[in-house]
């Protein structure tokens, strides 16, 4: 018995690998999915999400969410931290690519009619994912605390605040006071690194579970 076989047997004895693996490993991926690159878009969005998690964790090790320190810490990441500029720039590009991929993925679902019975609820989960993804972008935009960050957020929260009925509450919850300031920054940080990641992980779990149960739609 080679070492590989020994390891396999050890795991097989405990986790029934020989029952679990074949259905995953042996089955062919259908040709219409394999040959059409439009089916890659969901996976591309997910890959970007994973890259964002990894680069985001590195950024969080140096970033300081206070008005006095935020800008300086980002500047420090860009100039002094080894590979800091690369990590932050990859975070930036992965975020934009993810949003583009999610939008194109949604267009594929729409124009292929893949939201129809039985996939209605997965479309609803999908729209929530779209909302979460763009909110990720909105909350991340403020964090560097430069001129663009500050003023774009001021206008953005102003627009959200003028939505009838709920707008006032939205802007109060987001801004946490009368003007963009320390409260806003810590809130946006909490939203960006705690609330949204938990929300998106939950919804992605649901999304993939539903695709798993219902299979990929499509006529051949």
């Amino acid at each position: 018995m080679t070492l590989n076989e020994k390891i396999y047997k050890w795991l097989d004895d405990r986790f029934k690998l020989s029952e679990l693996l074949p259905p995953i490993v042996k089955h062919p991926a259908p040709l219409n999915v394999v040959s059409n690159p439009l089916y890659c878009l969901g996976g591309t969005a997910f890959l970007c999400f994973l890259i964002l998690v990894v680069t985001g964790i590195f950024l969080a090790m140096y970033y300081k969410p206070t008005p006095a320190e935020a800008y300086k810490s980002v500047e420090h990441i860009m100039t002094a931290v080894p590979m800091g500029s690369l990590i932050r720039s990859v975070h930036h590009w992965a975020a934009n690519t993810m949003i583009a991929a999610v939008m194109l993925h949604m267009m594929r679902i729409y124009f292929m009619g893949a939201y129809k019975k039985p996939r209605e609820l997965n479309w609803v989960v999908g729209i929530s994912l779209l909302l979460i993804t763009t909110t990720f972008g909105f909350s991340g935009y403020l964090l560097p605390w430069d001129q663009l960050a500050f003023w774009a957020t001021k206008i953005g929260t102003g627009i959200a605040g003028s939505i009838p009925v709920i707008g006032g509450y939205i802007s109060l919850i987001l801004v946490g006071g009368n003007d963009i300031g320390a409260e806003t920054l810590t809130r946006f940080f909490a939203i960006h690194v705690m609330i949204l990641p938990i929300a998106i992980a939950t919804l992605l779990g649901l999304h993939f579970l539903m695709v798993r149960i219902q299979g990929i739609s499509g006529r051949l």
Binding site: P28, A29, L31, Y71, F150
Partner: protein, 152 residues
């Protein structure tokens, strides 16, 4: 992504296929291709990041409004629509419409798509209305994005 590939064959199992199942074996061919694609995307991102690093302007100054303030590109259409819509409808001020339509109403409509479109066919030739509406919405979003850049 392996997780997702898992169910791709499940379609094959559920539908009794008259023809024999044609496809790419998941292991190793499909997986290899998947890994290659992932490497290409990751490589592309790293290349973009090194050529166009993320920017950082001057520190935030609440007393100095800079002149062009652009939001992220995916919010531009909201700004564009807000600028575009200048008409009050009865007692409803134009600004309220300009904010509500592209955010609340648009997302409300999007969520309801599967419940509005009751046509069971997924053949693109048999869903002309849905496709036409989709194309109109797409052109609208692109137009308002363009509008927000031009009328800054």
């Amino acid at each position: 992504m392996a997780l997702i590939e898992v169910e791709k064959h499940e379609v094959e199992e559920q539908k009794p296929e008259p023809v024999r199942v044609r496809g790419l074996p998941f292991f190793p061919h499909f997986l290899l291709r998947e890994v290659v694609v992932m490497c290409l995307i990751a490589g592309g991102l790293i290349m973009l990041a090194s050529i166009y690093p993320a920017g950082l302007l001057k520190p935030a100054d609440p007393f100095d409004t800079p002149s062009p303030i652009y939001p992220e590109w995916y919010f531009l259409y909201v700004f564009g629509f807000l600028k575009f819509w200048t008409w009050n409808i009865g007692p409803i001020p134009a600004k309220m419409i300009g904010v509500t339509l592209p955010m609340v109403l648009w997302y409300g409509l999007l969520i309801l798509v599967p419940f509005i479109d009751r046509n069971p066919s997924s053949d693109i030739r048999k869903r002309k209305v849905a496709v036409a509406l989709g194309v109109i919405a797409l052109i609208g979003i692109l137009y308002f994005t363009y509008f927000s850049i031009v009328h800054h």
